[in-house]
Symmetry: D2
Subunit: 304 residues, 4 copies
């Protein structure tokens, strides 16, 4: 067993010296105001031990990381029929001047791009009586933590400026791949993305995907086969146009968010979360990407 | 340990009943003449045991599977500088009317699409004194089998009809991303794709990628880090527009060829090769894809 | 001088025998209910004579034809600065799975595609105090006919189903190329498209573009240079993906609408309007396209 | 009648003061060596008069302008069946990273882009016994000038560096839209583009397209209908991605070449040629574009 504790502490120490930390997202004031100096890591091993360093206990906006959680809930409710409305291929597209090009005849390339996540949101809005509440409860149950909540101010700011998401939703609607009205789906979606967690909570929330579907309290949330599929999607599609690079450099299924968080996991071994709000050119956390690359290099624990 | 032997035999028996076996490639006579009834599986475990069924010992044209082997040789010679000439992102492109769209400013999306493999061929042509011979020797050394050879007739047929590869090579040339002349690079490339192996040989050739860089005779061909990278590429880019589907259904790094072969592997566990020349709509072996999906489902041995 | 009267009558008689008349647009009930048997032609010569045949006096929904009129009004108000927000190149795009691909960094390819017309609508909404009323007045003044009106039922139906236009408007908004809010611009746009005219009124409305900027009452609405530019745009961009074909077969600047109307003109000679609601595969009036082709062939009066 | 002579002289004088003359093409030494100071205009009126100024009598490489002449010859031989192999739509494509994107299922968008001109070259290679000689004779007959010749050095230089044309030809071949072998077609094509003429000769060569198909000696080379079609194509497709701009600013059918030449014409009135080797960003002659814009503005003689 590698000495996890000293590994993550030395990675944190070294990277934290970095003055170039990427650019904090500025499209809404709530994100623009976050201090770029924040940097935390939390490692949650299936064996029971855990290790942490830096700002692991400060909550942040998980943003696109939430797409995996809504996908899990929709998958558990709807089963394989969701794949009729969204594909499972990487979106890697040299021509993606806008996220809308990711649609092919109204079928988004995968559920982890915005258009695909909107289709998943539409599934949940159709299936749940109180979509926002029931999704929040799902995440709280996964994590065994009732303190997790939406940041409503963030959700409202997203709504005010989320023109591209409106465009994607209307385009889906024009192809008949959105059953509810655009405003309702986007209201759900903007709240989903406005979930706040800290690094520890994030590793708890994703624990079931490293543990064959069972959360930390040992309740089953997905079948083993469904877990395999979601992990495959995170590996091939979890990092926008940098998915190949992440699989290549890090070798773990994972997902990043524009708030600077990254979650990654090694099946049967661990989940790991990093948070540093400065983003690289591709929109992924600058320090987080490096931390995870160094972590799998040092521990030799990746899927490849 | 699962009972590998009975698993692959029962998969073979069941699938072999299938009358719908996909379409054999017809673009050159040498492939068009192959009997669609062929179907073999070979499993080569790192532990030493191996298991086989059906037509595992008949040689076939490995075609695009060879791209992984030429990449390995170029990577071992050139190191990371090859990534300046070819990217590592999936090509998944809803608009790919032709393979040429995979280029962005002359940089192919990844080394496992045709344009990318041509750049790798160009690297080898530049670095090797006798490119074809030395590449063949590399494969023979990997496999510890001097009987492996090019099928020259196949190479010549490819050359006669390979207009799309000529177009890709000239386009690369126009962007300054091909240093040797087009005819020389294509002659190498068409020979490389015309390698013939049977399923057993294929599992031997790829053994080093499941064994941290060491071939069956325990010689190192790549570093652990390089192996991780090639496996990541196979997972995200190894199956054309069906890469996401393969990662999702099978959960193994792998590579298919238009001759009907597929190689896949689980690091530290096994390499497995299937051969059935009928192809599905995406150009991957119809029975092979199903066999591998059933194999990882039955054994629960995938990377996810 | 050709015998215009007998030429348009014989064209009408011959084409009217056609049982294959294309498909009437069905996306809103108000268009779906129009009788495909309607077919009218009106020729309005600068010399003063006019000729008509068939259903020339029945009003129909002019739809996209209105884009030329809103462009003319915006051009007269704003001058050349409008070309900073919309380009003048044909959109001919083999990849246009959706109208949104027509945007490049938020600049629509030309003002006669939907995205471009939305930018023009935005200009008018910004510049006019009562945009809908003042646009209607502009058209009434051009035509010298106060009976012209919007069909409000059509406008509301368009709004209920116009998801693609919503998507385009939000995408423009995301690029900062829409200054007013989406609902206001679309309300204007859907009304503009819901203008109703008959063939005669249409030739009167476009008279100024064949008459160096002067309407039938001899008031100037645009400069000669502005007229030249709008005519050039109609020639290169007036018929969607069939613009080249129309220039090629007919050789006149013109514009079609999904309601089955077509306007075309020869500078200093005439304007001509046709109406037949059945559309060909490219979305242009099936009989109208043929009538205009036969008309310029018979009269030898085209711009080429 | 405008005073043509003084108009073209004053345009020439004013523009010739310009120190910013664009960039001379440098991809082959024969073009790179041309003096950017050259600037000539020749106006050839159907009425018989002609007017000239500057370097109108110096021969230059007509390059892409030749595409119209080969199209005319192929059209006269093959008739409308050529449109089964090449379309007539503008190529205006925001995504055209390479000329190859202009192909849709092997059908080039129009005969004035490179891929389309290669198809036309293929038609001539199939139909003519001695393609290069017979094409040259066709041009000499059109122009009534046996001194016109290919510049073989230019043709050979083009062949040495014309990788993009090779790529386009092989791609056409892969789609079955090139009947002869690539080398033969390209040899013809590179010679065709290497024709040399001066401004006067160019206006003579294109005279038939302004004169209903009849050359200066009154021999018919095309029918009136064919002339109309070629003029329509020049207007919509003659200036690469600047076609809309040229139609808009100048309002004449025309064609430019990378050697700095431009030919334009007004049916029944005149042909006009300009030559200045400095190119603007879109690859059209910088001074030539301005000269023609000023000419139609001053004379008010355009098609719109």
């Amino acid at each position: 067993m590698p000495d996890f504790s000293s590994i993550i502490r030395s990675i944190h120490t070294e990277l934290d010296r970095n003055t170039h930390r990427g650019k904090v997202a500025t499209y809404i004031p709530e994100l623009a105001g976050i201090d770029a100096e924040n940097f935390g890591i939390y490692l949650n091993c299936i064996s029971g031990e855990d290790h942490k360093v830096g700002d692991w206990d400060k909550p942040f906006s998980i943003q696109s990381i939430s797409k995996v959680l809504s996908l899990a809930q929709a998958f558990s409710i709807e089963g394989n029929s969701i794949w009729q409305r969204v594909d499972v291929e990487p979106s890697g597209n040299p021509f993606n001047h806008s996220s809308l090009l990711e649609l092919e005849n109204g079928i988004p390339r995968n559920p982890l791009i915005n258009a695909g996540a909107l289709v998943i949101a539409d599934v949940l809005v159709s299936k749940l009586k109180h979509p926002k509440e029931e999704f929040l409860n799902y995440v709280r149950n996964l994590t065994n933590d009732d303190s997790i909540a939406f940041n409503t101010k963030v959700a409202l700011s997203e709504k005010r400026t989320g023109y591209k998401n409106y465009a994607a939703a209307y385009l889906l609607k024009s192809f008949g791949n959105l059953n509810n009205d655009v405003e309702t789906v986007l209201d759900f979606y903007f709240h989903q993305c406005a979930l706040e967690m800290n690094c520890q909570q994030l590793t708890n929330a994703f624990y079931f995907l490293a543990n064959r579907g069972y959360c930390m309290r040992n309740h089953a949330f997905l079948t083993e086969s469904q877990v395999k599929r979601i992990n495959a999607l995170m590996l091939t599609c979890g990092f926008y146009d940098e998915a190949g690079e992440f699989a290549f450099e890090v070798g773990l299924p994972g997902k990043s968010g524009v708030g600077g968080g990254i979650i990654a996991l090694l099946p049967n071994q661990y989940t790991i979360a990093t948070w540093s709000p400065g983003l690289n050119e591709k929109g992924n956390s600058h320090l987080g990407m490096q931390a995870l690359e160094q972590f799998t290099t040092a521990t030799k624990l990746s899927i490849f």
